[in-house]
Each structure stands twice: as C-alpha cells, then as structure tokens.
C-alpha cells in the first residue's frame, strides 16, 4: 500500500500559534505546501506574519492571519469566534515565550507568563476548537523541546512549561482519542533559529550539542516541520498522547 495521499492536507484548516516567524513560520509554510489552509496566529510580530502569509500565497498556498494574545483567555475566545469561526482540523501549538535563567531565579510573573503561553494556551485553544476537531477527526500537535524532560542550562521556566505541555499532551491524547482527536507532541533538540540564538550561552551550548549529537549538527526548522506534518497526517493514527523526540540522537548519549 502506498501512503502518499496521507500527506495531502487539502481541505484542512490548520491553526499555527506563534506562526509569524522562526519555526512557526516554517511549520505554517509546510502545512500550506501540503494543501492546508493555514491560519497564522501572532501577537506582536504583525510585519513578520504578513510576510509569512505572503510567502505562502506566493507559493500557491492559502493563509489567513489571526492575531491574539494567548495569555488572555478572552483573546483566545475572540480568535475562535472571529477568524476561526469556521472551526479547524489541525492545531499546532508552537507559540512559546520564556526568560533564559535558572529555575531557582524565576520570578512569579515570569513563571505565569511562560506557563500561560507555553502550556495553558494549548488547553484553552483545544477547548475552543474541540467541537470542530471532534467533528473532523482533528489533529493537535504541541511543539515541545528537550528541556521538558532534560535539564538545559538557563532554561528554567521554559523547561518546566514544556514538561507541563507534554503532560497535557498525554492527558488530552487519552481523553480525546475516543472522540477521534489525535493529540501528540514533538520535542526538538537545540535548533539553529534566531530566537534560540538569544540564549546567553548559545555558542557554547551549540558546540556542546554538536559534539554530543551522533548526527553532528544542530536541528533545523525543517527537521521539526517534517515530524509535525507526520503528526498532522493519518500516518500517525496509532499514536496517542506521545512526545516524539527529534534531536539527532543527542539525548541518547552520555
């Protein structure tokens, strides 16, 4: 049996949170390239969101914008009552925020903001999207990172929020499988992205990661996009609540 058609997302509507730039933009472009109508969520980077939308259209794809501050439940509700009122088939929760510092130095407001964007927003988006997701055999993909299961220096609140995201993925995966909604996650290793380069120790971290990675390089946005595409397709139907680790084998080495 050939499965090529499983990657055809024509007729599907996909929301990518934090889709204006960086990894999110690549995820949006990948889903659009496979036929999905993509809705790009953003809050601050309107110019980048417009550029990503245009890039998708220039490539023959279809995309709309859905600005919403994911820290605010009322903004999420308004997004689903407005730009997403037709419902969605696919939700990719990529939006993330955080401060690069040790966990024991994270302040309460930084913790709240990080948890609310990185983890709680997935819950609130799923709650809003559930009627359409359940009706259409929906797919939910959470974008996590190795810091959710391992300890990365200066990654305190983000790592904890990614752990919460992966736990939420497990719960939603089990709870919603019976309703035909597939929920999984991907945890990437260190990616070579502008946002990741803001990490104060990026140079040293990148060198250490490459040294410890059997594949001898950092991950790319495309590496993650291909796995997200797999999780958005029926190819991953038998996976429920799982977090796929995509790190070139780095986390397996000692």
């Amino acid at each position: 049996m050939r499965y090529d058609s499983f990657l055809d997302l024509t007729g599907r509507r996909a929301l990518v949170t934090g889709g204006s730039r960086g990894l999110g933009a690549v995820l949006a472009q990948t889903l659009a390239a496979h036929g999905a109508h993509v809705v790009i969520n953003y809050v601050r980077h309107e110019a980048e969101a417009l550029r990503t939308q245009q890039a998708i259209r220039d490539a023959g794809g279809s995309a709309d914008l859905a600005p919403a501050n994911l820290t605010k439940p009322e903004d999420i509700r308004a997004m689903f009552a407005g730009p997403l009122r037709e419902g969605i088939d696919i939700l990719v929760h990529n939006a993330a925020i955080g401060s690069f510092k040790p966990a024991h130095e994270v302040r309460a407001n930084q913790w709240d903001l990080t948890m609310n964007v990185n983890a709680r927003a997935l819950l609130l988006c799923v709650q809003e999207a559930l009627p359409s997701l359940a009706q259409r055999g929906g797919r939910v993909v959470a974008v996590s990172s190795l810091g959710g299961a391992r300890v990365i220096p200066e990654y305190g609140a983000v790592g904890v929020s990614k752990a919460a995201l992966e736990a939420l993925t497990r719960y939603l995966g089990v709870e919603l499988a019976g309703r035909g909604v597939h929920v999984n996650a991907v945890a990437g290793g260190l990616l070579d992205l502008p946002s990741v380069r803001q990490h104060p120790g990026f140079g040293q971290l990148a060198a250490d990661t490459i040294r410890r990675t059997p594949s001898h390089r950092l991950g790319t946005a495309d590496d993650i996009a291909r796995i997200v595409l797999f999780l958005c397709s029926p190819l991953s139907d038998w996976m429920v609540g799982q977090t796929l680790v995509a790190d070139g084998g780095m986390s397996l080495t000692v």
Partner: protein, 122 residues
C-alpha cells in the same frame, strides 16, 4: 478608578509585575537599573497595561518611541532631548555615547506614563 490616576495605576502595575514595593516605582525609576526588569518583564508589563487600560500597544511605540536608533549621532541627539524631558533620570549611569544595547536602561516608569498620555489615557 477616577480620571487622572493613570500614573498611580501604572506604578501599581509595574510594582506587581516586578514584585517590588510600589514606593520604589517612581517616575524616574529605570525599569532595568532600578527595578530589576528583564526582557520578558517588558512584555508582561505591556500586556498588563493593555488589559488595565483596554488599549492595544505596539512594543516599538512604547519602548523605542523616544530614541532614533539610526546611528550613534541620532542616538546621541535623541538622548540630548531626553535629558531635557527627564532631568531626574540618573544619566551618570549611562556611557557618554550609549550603544543600542544600552538603550533599554533608559526606559523608565515615566516612559510608560508619557506614552499613555499621548494615547489620551488619564
């Protein structure tokens, strides 16, 4: 809240976000140097301001609006104007010719208040 108490509300918002006593949140207080703000805190404060005053705020308008970052000359000229408007700021803490990376230290509580005043918030 009554009309005209915006500066007090801003001080309260900043104090709550940064977990500092509101008495420390004076108009001339630098968010970074005096109140310990980090980059994520600027976003937190912006979101709180938006919610409290029911407005949308562009980050660039709020934080970058007073400095022309085109070149060292324009930065220096902008700072010369800022020194007139913010005489209480401790200018001795900045280098004579601040680099773009120093400019965040110039953001004070008064920066927020002035932006809100330009938006008609009282």
């Amino acid at each position: 809240m009554t009309s005209g108490d915006m500066p007090h509300r801003v001080a309260t918002i900043v104090a709550e976000a940064l977990n500092v006593p509101v008495e420390r949140v004076t108009p001339s207080a630098s968010l970074i140097d005096d109140l310990g703000a980090e980059s994520i805190d600027f976003l937190d404060i912006l979101f709180r301001i938006e919610t409290a005053f029911n407005i949308k705020v562009r980050e660039s308008e709020l934080w970058d609006g007073t400095i022309d970052r085109t070149s060292q000359e324009t930065i220096d000229a902008s700072i010369a104007q800022l020194k007139v408007r913010q005489p209480d700021y401790r200018w001795d803490r900045l280098p004579a010719h601040p680099a773009p990376s120093d400019l965040g230290r110039l953001i004070t509580v008064q920066t927020i208040i002035q932006h809100l005043q330009t938006r008609g918030v009282e």
